[in-house]
Symmetry: none
Subunit: 414 residues, 2 copies
């Protein structure tokens, strides 16, 4: 079964507001094996709202509406659903009385407008609201289910959990959704897709989605099945070949971010790492220490943004900087060596480059980055040319540095 979600309210169409109810509802529907295939935010406008409701009911088995059940003229969900389904609205005096009683408990008088909330779509089941005045409604229409919930998240959640979830569980065919997430560092999205699409394209179930951030790609698999075992088998059928194609480029299969994976490897190896950062100005250290407990393996770091500090704090030979420049393989090498020596860490990572937007005094073009990795026996330097703005280039190279260390710790060549 598929579901659609419509959030109602013009206030949610501003540049600042996000509809978070749909995230909660999506999570709940997914646990029932129901996929959310479309969600919309519609302002307080009868025609557009009716249009959206008719579209959803024609396409999907379940429609959940949130909001627009308040007492004001702007609250149009009841009318729009009634019109879209060609049903009448019926006044329920017992709802009006319950609202009036609620106000009385708060020592207040019910405003006349609240009576609007006592109108119910003909044939709907009323879902009482113990956290607010607007009752919800549950409607069946030739095998489809239309649910109206109040907009305030704490009212919506309580009503969903106690009244809607159990009703849906009875009508939705028993189904399980199993997911698997593979994360890959430092590979362009299109290269990755070209490599693995011949595998995942053959399958509608599990469905495969690819998400890309700078230097970080997530491959999500979602399988629908009737049992967990069946779902896992479906996942394995696709994850197996994809895993073989991507091999050790996959750094995590459980959602862990790269810094957590590197941290676990360092801890397992009883090793420590230090950093020497120029272009990233501390971001790499910030990422490594984002993991709780990173003090177990993070030895310390140096933010050496200018040549003098590279020499004074890291002991980089001024001749190297004069001959090759601060953005060079030699500088990256000397920075990593210096950080390792001064912190006595097992490994040291260095980053130097031109993040842009201007090249500054550097002869290297914007986006040029060198990453060094020093250990007891050698120093390795990778060179890459990134495209993009300052923030993006810096994010990319942090990812590249972390992955370089991961590969070293896993003894992966390349």
């Amino acid at each position: 079964m598929n579901a659609e979600i419509i959030a109602v309210g013009s206030e949610m169409l501003t540049p600042e507001r996000v509809d978070t109810n749909s995230l909660f509802l999506t999570g709940e529907l997914n646990t029932l094996g129901v996929e959310v295939v479309l969600k919309a935010v519609v302002g307080d406008h009868l025609e557009r709202l009716g249009d959206s409701i008719r579209g959803a009911v024609s396409r999907s088995e379940i429609l959940i509406l949130s909001g627009g059940l308040g007492p004001t003229e702007d609250d149009l969900t009841r009318e729009a659903v009634a019109q879209a389904l060609g049903r009448k609205l019926v006044f329920h005096p017992e709802i009006a009385e319950a609202i009036e009683a609620r106000f009385a408990r708060m020592k207040r008088k019910m405003a006349e407008v609240n009576k609007r909330q006592a109108y119910v779509v003909e044939g709907a089941e009323i879902l009482p609201n113990d956290r607010g005045t607007a009752p919800g409604q549950w409607i069946e229409e030739s095998g489809r289910f239309i649910v109206m919930l109040p907009g305030p998240p704490h009212e919506l959640k309580a009503m969903y959990e106690r009244q809607v979830g159990p009703r849906l569980a009875r009508v939705v065919p028993k189904q399980v959704i199993r997911t698997l997430e593979m994360r890959v560092a430092g590979m362009p999205e299109s290269d990755l897709d070209q490599l693995i699409s011949p595998v995942y394209k053959k399958y509608e179930n599990p469905a495969t989605t690819i998400l890309a951030a700078p230097g970080d790609i997530q491959v999500h698999l979602r399988a629908r099945a009737s049992t967990e075992a069946e779902g896992d088998a479906l996942l394995a059928e696709v994850a197996g070949p994809i895993g073989q194609l991507l091999g050790d480029r996959i750094y995590s299969r459980n959602g862990d971010p790269l810094e957590a994976v590197v941290g676990n490897l360092l801890r397992a190896a009883q090793a420590t790492v230090s950093v020497a950062e120029s272009a990233t100005g501390g971001m790499l250290g910030g990422r490594i220490t984002a993991v709780p407990g990173s003090s177990d393996y993070f030895a310390g770091g140096f933010i050496t943004y200018n040549n003098q500090m590279k020499t004074e704090l890291l002991g980089v030979d001024p001749e190297i900087l004069r001959l090759f420049g601060a953005v060079s393989e030699q500088a990256a090498e000397a920075m990593a060596a210096g950080a390792r020596r001064r912190t006595r860490s097992t490994f040291a990572l260095s980053v130097t480059g031109v993040a842009g937007p201007d090249a500054g005094g550097e002869s290297a073009p914007v986006g040029t980055m060198y990453v060094g990795l020093a250990d007891a026996s050698a120093i390795r330097v990778l060179h890459r040319q990134f495209l993009g703005d300052r923030a993006r280039v810096r994010s990319f190279v942090v990812q590249m540095a972390l992955d370089l260390l991961r590969r070293r710790l896993m003894r992966i060549d390349g």
Copy 2:
């Protein structure tokens, strides 16, 4: 004129993901006086996507689609728009060549699938993408405008700002929206709202919105008017009293983030700053160097995550650490002094604290943070107790450190 926005991509229909592009687009459209009346997130499904496109085009003058322009079989926006408008898709070899050249600049070969991105809806104007491979498209259809933009936010923003905004400005009836944004550091949202809501609640125009991030609050004012002067007068009527209430807690009125404001103050004072970071592990340096040209005033930094490094790299007296602990006023003071001495910077900021989720070996509770600021004459240390998870506490204290320096540079007491 009304607009609708459709975000395309099944990955945005999970319980975790939010479509942030629509927030940016809504803000931009609003500045043109265009109201967003409906927005939707539609999965990678040709029929549902086509349905949504036809609905939007029938109801509203402007439709902006984001995403679904990638190179894979899942990327269906081009096909769906073509079908919905009854137009053909035409292959443009020059787009394929541009994509190929882009890959070549990165010393890579274009994957065959990228050719899909060279298909354009018949009659559409091509919007070149200088940040990615997917070009956008601009279509006019009997007085309606359909725009396709790439999904990655940095590509979408650049394309909108340079190519779509100016085009829309030419076709949208002239209305002026004037905005003003005041940014405030280190104040709880509820305190701020209690202080200024008696002012802004009296006005519908300008509309006031308050946005809060850890340690950072933005107060947005939006005025609609027929001329800029009228709009600015409306803004001033509300911004004046709010400005008086918030005073020097406002760090920027032009959208500049705190690190840029601090950078400008440092540059104006011909001063430099260094950092000594424990709990933030480099994040503070990362923030300061996020600003292009920060090498003018950023002297360097030390990431001293353990006691030994605090002593060795910063010269913190081991007795201080033994007597008072690494999370103490005395440690923050000694760290700032050490960073300033070793980099010979005008100012030095230090951060030490317990970011959580565990207190580790520290006796101080989770969320305890000390920020030190050293200059030629004195060292000042602020102590705060933050609530929230590790990431939130770390973001808060970075903000607090930057604001401490701002106040010092502006000679604000308190």
